[in-house]
Symmetry: C2
């Protein structure tokens, strides 16, 4: 693509000036439309060092109201960021609905540089390409507009510009080691950029190669393309996205109604096993900290199923410096205005740490589905989106364990009544719990569908039979210990 | 993907038999659902020689009612097919709504073999990958389900199977030269297959790698995946597809209302120029026949604008063995039940030939748009789909010329009235013409949008000012002669 890209022929300077004026006005008008429709817009500026990313970006945003955009200058990842999945630092920076985010250098620069510097091998490079394709498609499916610009100049022009920048004391800081390396190895870089652009040139987020020899012409191309892209995105706004075929290998799981809930454990055995398992877990926690393995444990289950107590038995064995429990309630406005997985990406642990989620991203296909907090298309799409999310975690090296804490309807009633009648437990039971209980059957349908569609080989569901809470706690500990041992030894 | 594909672990023989019975029943049931919803399903079987494509396919269709499917065995292209764009032979074979088409070897086999045999270079290979991605996405956007299977066996297994086939007189015809070459160069082939699969592993038409060491297990995987894919496609059925951003460089064209229709030519000059241009065209026609350049000329214009007479002046200069005029009326049922471009793909000329279309695929964004014969999403998507179609023609080496024959509303009225009042011309005027005339303003909006969005650098629109028909004819001839000269000299 880079080698033979076709773009409009550069018009005369007068024509550029005239068209630029119109285009700027048009882009300016689009701000309000974006705000009104709550369209989030992500604009990526990649390209050769010295191609003018910064200065063109500066000109584009001059037209915009500062309340409507954010710029993100993404140079090398920080220590903190390196301890998370490589997409983490990008995902946490996605804009909220109604706003622009401009990225000066995107994930493209990061992974092509890593690849060129041989910090990652071909397999890892390809894996990251797949992640990127999923990421961009998820954004688009969730209503984001993603516009990708690559600012193109040839080798000669690049070296001329870098020299000019270096010659002046005011600008020589802008020429880094990488820029010089890139110019020296222009052809080699070109090959990789070309490969990257071809691989990620998705229909829903295509690349635009910008002829950047002339700055004003570059600004014009970008401004006009932004206007056109926004218009199409506004047409698409609110349109249901295509459901995708599942391509992840799944593990078979029984339906809730087929689960035997009579499993119990004696008080004595419980105490013995609890001690044993907690001791083991405690040691494993040290080891995973040293080996920098991240662990993500997700808890879902019926109200009063015993999630809280179950989690406590886990955390009791963990070093408090190495884990965090995230209780998940309904989303804040800033969360609601973004991709629904954003708040979970933000809460990902550092490597070597354990994150326990008390309720999770699966809210999308349970409460949000049943209460109509998202559209049918949204929750139908979510199974695949969640599988992709968990694949990302697993590829990063994380252990992902998902527990469904199961009780029957009678047991729930007993526990609700007990809570109601015990003053110090009354805070644990609300009207909402009773309302949810009325929807038991609908929930059961949704939960079965969820478990069937998201028990992937890399992030399977485990059902904890919790009519006997002790039994459920031991089972959870066993599963966690087992998964850690498998990974760590 | 091939190297490290993960699929479900092969179950026991008993389990395979039991699941297969269920899966076959389920697939059988899906036939009626497909028929009811008029869902067209395209199933591609690719994979290693000897992997059992034919025999597994044979088993899968045993379950189906023969009225509901067609199998297409696509070995090497015929002479006739080689003279058309490489996708031609596949496009003309797409199923109609409500039916399956099974392809034993698809476009994958064709292009990977050509590439491995070094019949095409890397640039051509990549170009064809892009075409394939567009083709599959267009099918999906237009309501097709595309399921892609790659039957995987390892080198040893392949060589074992090929030997077994060769050992028997009944089957040794099934082992071709290619199969042996493939086995000998297994690793090299694997690299290319892998590259192809990765490049074309689109979200809307993903690849499924089928572990094919055991035939029954292969059949089970395929049958279950077909059932799941169909269920998702039925959910998607009728859902509007995402509009794509335009990535083709466009040429600027004036709006209809800004066109000067007072252009004329004297009778004398007309006769002189006509003769000159037709002589030139006649010679060029011979040359393009020798050089095997295909030419596609598309005519659109207002009723009574003079398309017919204009076309006649072109064809008068052409050798009748080397051109065809295709008058396009409303589609037949078999055409209506397929991708709307199908009937135009079917009418593509051989290389070295000229095809003239009297009305075209642009009906989608004019009459079909205005009469509601397709959905809003359909015609909005069509601009890009048509640009992609014409890019395909242009990449194939075709000259693509598109004429809009323009007159003003008064001139149309004059001509209508004249037709009405001239007995031998009365057949040329119908009630429909008068009804269309009432929608002049709506048509003008649609035509302007069409010309603005589909005047690509590789297939631009030319407006023929046809208040003076002579002027329009000379202009058309000039444009055609000019385009041919540029390409042929």
């Amino acid at each position: 693509m880079l080698k033979d890209f076709v773009c409009e022929k550069r018009p005369s300077d007068e024509e550029i000036s005239a068209r630029l004026e119109t285009a700027r006005e048009e882009l300016n008008k689009r701000q309000m439309a974006i705000k009104e429709k709550k369209l989030p817009v992500l604009v990526l500026f990649d390209g050769w060092g010295g191609a003018g990313k910064g200065s063109v970006l500066g000109k584009v945003i001059k037209n915009l109201d500062p309340r409507f955009y954010k710029t993100e200058v993404l140079s090398s990842p920080t220590e903190e960021e390196l301890r998370r999945p490589f997409l983490y630092r990008y995902f946490v920076r996605i804009p909220e609905g109604g706003k622009f985010s401009f990225f000066d250098d995107s994930w493209m620069s990061e992974i092509t540089q890593k690849y060129l510097k041989e910090e990652i091998d071909t397999d890892e490079y390809k894996r990251e390409l797949t992640s990127i394709k999923r990421f961009e498609r998820q954004l688009s499916d969730n209503g984001y507009l993603v516009i990708k610009f690559f600012l193109q100049i040839d080798k000669k022009e690049q070296s001329k510009r870098l020299e000019a920048l270096e010659d002046s004391k005011d600008t020589n800081w802008r020429v880094g080691k990488w820029d010089k390396w890139e110019n020296k190895h222009y052809k080699e870089c070109m090959e990789i950029y070309d490969d990257y652009i071809e691989a990620t040139n998705q229909f829903i987020a295509p690349w635009y190669i910008i002829d950047s020899k002339n700055r004003k012409w570059a600004e014009l191309q970008i401004t006009e393309l932004m206007v056109k892209s926004i218009d199409i995105a506004l047409e698409n706004h609110g349109r249901a996205a295509t459901l995708l075929q599942n391509t992840f290998a799944l593990e078979e799981r029984p339906l809730l109604q087929d689960i035997d809930l009579n499993k119990t454990i004696s008080e004595e055995e419980y105490q013995v096993r609890l001690k044993e398992l907690q001791d083991k877990l405690s040691k494993l926690h040290n080891r995973l900290y040293r080996k920098k393995v991240p662990v993500i444990i997700a808890y879902e289950g019926w109200d009063a199923a015993g999630k809280g107590g179950n989690i406590k038995r886990l955390t009791a064995a963990l070093d408090p410096r190495g884990f965090e429990v995230h209780p998940i309630a309904s989303p804040e406005p800033a969360e609601k205005n973004r991709h629904y997985l954003w708040r979970f990406w933000k809460r990902l642990p550092k490597d070597g740490h354990v994150a326990i989620f008390d309720r999770t991203w699966y809210g999308r296909v349970m409460v949000e589905r049943l209460e109509g907090f998202c559209s049918e298309n949204d929750w139908q799409r979510a199974y695949n989106e969640i599988n992709e999310f968990e694949k990302e975690l697993s590829d990063w090296g994380a252990i992902v364990i998902k527990f469904w804490v199961q009780i029957d309807k009678d047991t729930q009633l007993e526990r609700f009544t007990a809570r109601q009648n015990t003053p110090e437990k009354q805070w644990k039971i609300t009207d909402e719990d009773w309302r949810n209980r009325e929807k038991w059957d609908d929930y059961e349908v949704a939960i079965n569908e969820m478990i069937q569609k998201t028990s992937t080989v890399f992030a399977p569901w485990y059902v904890l039979e919790s009519n006997d809470k002790h039994y459920a706690r031991i089972k959870a500990l066993e599963i966690v210990v087992d998964a850690l041992e498998k990974k760590l030894y």
